[in-house]
Symmetry: C2
Subunit: 438 residues, 2 copies
């Protein structure tokens, strides 16, 4: 790899994006399959590089600077690489997010407007230490016709470099530089200034990191900061169902953003509901923190104001009572992060009220918050989760990496014909037809 500045890399990506946008679905899928094959063929090379990262990680583990979990996430193996190659092939199998005509409208005779799905252009990504993240992001970008800037964690630098080289070489039929690897932390700050060249930033990482990105760039940012999700157990809930949902939402995988952080219980069912669920939580090692009223019923630590606004990401749960559905809605509106909320109730009207009032990306009735996920939602590969409300919201699939473009096919039409005293009226008729077939 020759050394280029971050700016030179982004400029090259921008040029590549223009050509990439014209590649057909077959070409993009062939590129993906070629990446998958190369990953399998060059397994030894990847594992060798990965060992260097793991060895460095283990030294830091001994020094107490790294956790075992972090080292485990770094580590690749032959079977993991096979899974990664399979993941790339499955991205190739997905429905093409491009080459779709979204609207065809006849403005007048021989004046036809087509709104079609197109790539966004240049997407900047900053992601965590798992080396499979680089491959996944590159694959999703290629599938959606976007040039991509990849900035991985320095812990995985050897692995990332080899994976990147393999991807580059496997896609040498594509415009050079459609994928760019950025390695230095300083280069991230350089990227944030390039609002003329980067169309979208997708940071993954801690809330603080995502907020830092949002606050320091005028490039649109797609990402999620916090996931403070709620389960509300209504007074008309099936309490057995409520217990199953509340348990699953916390315990099934507590480290992720769609796990529940605060359980809201209607006061009239608290005496019956809380003791049983508290026992299940206790058996699973969940630390409970309750409001005063909760602590009169079950054994729990005291919850402070901070608890209602905390994403624990761990086996910790805060619990409070509410006196009504509106009490639950108000609590969530005040402390939630607009990610995912679930109501457990047999009363459909109340469920509708809960789901319509709350301004969260995902609102559930009688289901675990853990369903809030691109794969479970049937979106195919997940690009990320967005807690913003603009462009893409909630779990984001490949569609989130596309935008649209208007094509107008005329026959010498001018606006003067449709203006002034003898203005010709527009037809504005929708019709069936694709732009490229016209």
């Amino acid at each position: 790899m020759t050394e280029q500045t971050a700016r030179a890399k982004v400029d090259e990506a921008q040029t590549a994006a223009r050509t990439l946008a014209m590649c057909s679905e077959d070409e993009r899928n062939a590129g993906l399959r070629s990446i998958a094959d190369a990953l399998e063929e060059r397994t030894d090379e990847i594992l060798e590089a990965n060992e260097k990262d793991v060895a460095a990680g283990e030294k830091l583990l001994e020094a107490g600077e790294y956790s075992q979990a972090l080292v485990d996430r770094l580590k690749l193996s032959e079977s993991k690489l096979e899974d990664i190659a399979e993941m790339v092939r499955s991205v190739a199998e997905q429905t093409d997010p491009l080459e779709k005509t979204l609207v065809s409208r006849r403005l007048d005779e021989d004046l036809e407007l087509y709104k079609t799905a197109v790539p966004i252009g240049v997407v900047g990504t900053v992601f965590e230490s798992r080396p499979d993240a680089l491959v996944q992001i590159a694959a999703l970008s290629l599938k959606s016709g976007n040039a991509v800037i990849l900035k991985g964690g320095s812990e995985a630098s050897h692995s990332n470099r080899v994976l990147y080289e393999i991807i580059q070489e496997a896609t040498d039929e594509f415009p050079a530089g459609w994928a760019q690897l950025i390695e230095a932390r300083e280069d991230v700050d350089a990227l944030l200034e390039m609002d003329d060249a980067i169309d979208l930033l997708m940071p993954r990482g801690s809330s603080a990191f995502v907020e830092y990105i949002q606050d320091n760039t005028s490039i649109p940012v797609l990402g999620h900061t916090e996931g403070i999700c709620h389960v509300y157990v209504d007074d008309d809930a099936d309490l057995e169902m409520a217990a199953d949902i509340a348990f699953d939402a916390k315990v099934q995988y507590p480290a992720v953003c769609n796990a529940v952080e605060t359980l809201l219980v209607h006061e009239s069912v608290a005496d019956e509901f809380l003791p049983a669920i508290a026992e299940r939580y206790e058996d699973a090692g969940v630390e409970l923190r309750g409001s005063e009223a909760v602590r009169e019923i079950i054994d729990a630590g005291p919850a402070t104001e901070d608890d209602w606004a905390s994403e624990y990401g761990d086996l910790v749960l805060s619990i409070t009572l509410v006196d009504s559905l509106d009490g639950a809605i108000d609590h969530i509106a005040e402390y939630g992060s607009k990610h995912t909320e679930s109501i457990v109730t047999e009363d459909d009207d109340r469920a509708v009220r809960f789901m319509r009032s709350l301004d969260s990306a995902s609102v559930f009735h009688n289901a675990s918050t853990r369903f809030s996920d691109g794969y479970r939602f049937g979106l195919g590969a997940e690009v990320g989760i967005s807690t913003g409300k603009i462009h893409a919201r909630g779990p984001v699939g490949l569609e989130g990496l596309t935008t649209y473009k208007y094509h107008l096919e005329g026959d010498g039409h001018i606006v003067a014909t449709y203006a002034g005293e003898d203005a010709k009226p527009y037809l504005h008729e929708e019709f069936d037809g694709d732009w490229l077939d016209n």
Copy 2:
């Protein structure tokens, strides 16, 4: 009107947005009709306030600080108010952008996912001096269920205050404070900090102003900075058609963002094409600025590097020759603002290449750039034009003021069922059905 701080107004709008999101289409349309009626009933009051603004504007005109055009735009009349009331009624007539189910997907038996269109929440708007802008923006916001912060130009402050009071009183059945008037310039800067409460900013005004907003907030911004549009006359163009399009694109209304600024002509047709079109432009008072090669053929001032990157917004046009289609594409990619470009050619393949290569919101074949407009595109009322690529692009209709939300209806479903060794597979079947009918 009691005096509230900008923060208090935005907080009130945020609370109102939650209730407003639950209003039905009928309720929102009734609100719009009530605004239209009130505008007609209280014409005298509005005109009285408007006279104060006009008088102040005329003083500034005498002092040489205002243009006549600005004063003209400020001025309301009985018939203008009737038009404004009719505009509000026409917004009520438009297809509801909400209460639409975009996707219905069965994840498993009795586990149904609905993606539905919902309002964005709180929209902040800053607009120019025309008092009808306030009414139009408020109407579009109410139609799309959004609470709105309105900051108009100080030149129109008396008119804006009365129009705002009328809108408030006419919609007193809606949550108080769904529309908020902000009057002080300092309050704009306060708004830019409120990324916790404002979901979208829509500034209208000069490029410099829109850029200032983009650079000083982490709230998503929908707007357009520059409109540097191009017409390319290919060597295979019908030259008569090309002349009509190039003329219309510049002359029909030069002050707007979709007017052409640079004309690109294939060198092999320049000798034939340029003299005739130059004469038409001259008759219409258009100042021409050409490259050296152009000035060898027609009489024109010299175009500098700055000209290629300028939005004149006036009867000025820059012209240059290119040696190929790719030369035209490269010029537009370098200097354009991704707004609207048009190719005039009889060769469909070249048209496709032009339209696919260019990363502009609107790409036209054999039609004037002036068609790039929400009304002409058949989008109904136009919220604005976006030169960004995220969320909404090109002319933006009511849909641009909506986002979506996922509703999941379960029957006690938990994720543990679908994980691990005996994981149940998902169905992921699309079906016909609306969330509220389920």
